[in-house]
Symmetry: C2
Subunit: 259 residues, 2 copies
Amino acid sequence: MREINNIVLIGAGNVATNLAIAFQSNGKKILQVISKNLDHAKLLADKVSANYTTILDEIINSADLYIISINDDAIINIASSLKIKNKLIVHTSGSIDMNVLQNASTNYGVFYPLQTFSKDTIVDFNNIPFCIEANTSENREELIELAQILSNDIREINSEERKIIHLAAVFACNFSNYMYLIAEEILSKHNLPFDILKQLINQTAFKVNNQNPENTQTGPAKRNDLELIEKHLTLLKETPAYYEIYKVITNNIVNKFHN
Amino acid sequence: MREINNIVLIGAGNVATNLAIAFQSNGKKILQVISKNLDHAKLLADKVSANYTTILDEIINSADLYIISINDDAIINIASSLKIKNKLIVHTSGSIDMNVLQNASTNYGVFYPLQTFSKDTIVDFNNIPFCIEANTSENREELIELAQILSNDIREINSEERKIIHLAAVFACNFSNYMYLIAEEILSKHNLPFDILKQLINQTAFKVNNQNPENTQTGPAKRNDLELIEKHLTLLKETPAYYEIYKVITNNIVNKFHN
């Protein structure tokens, strides 16, 4: 089995940035960063001492691995215009089928780290699950070995499973963040500080590390406290969007626990 | 100013249990636990070497502080039937007005720890915000001094503000927990393990310790990725309740960030 040492990154966003920095600090070489945005390409390339370009045709052909880490709809376009023969190529998306890469190379797979990333907070990959898929068992082994350098949580996940995991992640991450956002807006509208909720938010997340969320559900809807629910809806009358969200989620919780 | 040393707890639920244990380990004496449920009263009383009873008329009259820590609708009932003259009495509710206690005593207030509690996970109160309110400045000072024994985050919050904070907490805690619950159900329906999301859930909560949730919002709705949103809705067709929640929250996020 070949070891992956030299990597080309197509993309310079949140995931690409975090992966590039983690690979470099674990002894891998980022040869090149390709991004349609010159500033983004340069910014990341400078961080990891790589070359950079905005032109896909200038792609270096001597890398061991090509990682496409860009928006979902752009992956399909890039994959169809990229020809790297038999070099191993992966994307890092939760929701795109592995097979969109089959025209780009004979060796392809998926290298999906399940986390929410931002450029300005570089994460420790140590416990982050990597969802690995590949078109051959040899490619899979190479990707697993590479992922093991960054994390101790490697999982073989096929494209259908990955889409389900990504959907679940939208609820667990994007939607729970939106609940924080609504809470922040309710507080700031009344000149109250959001930091009063931080211990609560941390503890709510922490609890489901060891318990099923069905057991940690609390609150007026869980208790079917209709009087308090009515009071809350009255407070939300001026913000119809939040009124609707409160009502839909509350009805859902009441139905789940009291039917 | 009088120091509070001897406490009677009316209630033996999650909040009462956590408070009683914290008070006892900080040198305060729990004289008595009163609960309409004998088993609950005995269970908590045994933990803190207190007396216990199910009969409100047997309430000990020598305590410095009486804490009502029961369901919201029961607080009003108990407060109207309890007569403890001039002894200091508080409730621990986020949503009940302080003034419901004015018939029970001439000295009353609110002692509201903003956290999600359970009996089997005893929390460290150290950083938990205590929202304090009282009918006189002297009572407020006594309650602040008591809260400072448990926590370094004490805030003077009136009843109207407390109700807003509690509403915000429903979004930040109860509703985000329900997002975890839906994620768990989506995964388990497809025989996928919930633990794959734990790092993501932790990081999502952790991020808003230092950033505004508006800046940490990510996902298909934030990107206005209509194609992926349609795919997710198709996956949710079989569970109409989750389909509706996905659609309502997604429309909300799209409107917020793309209008």
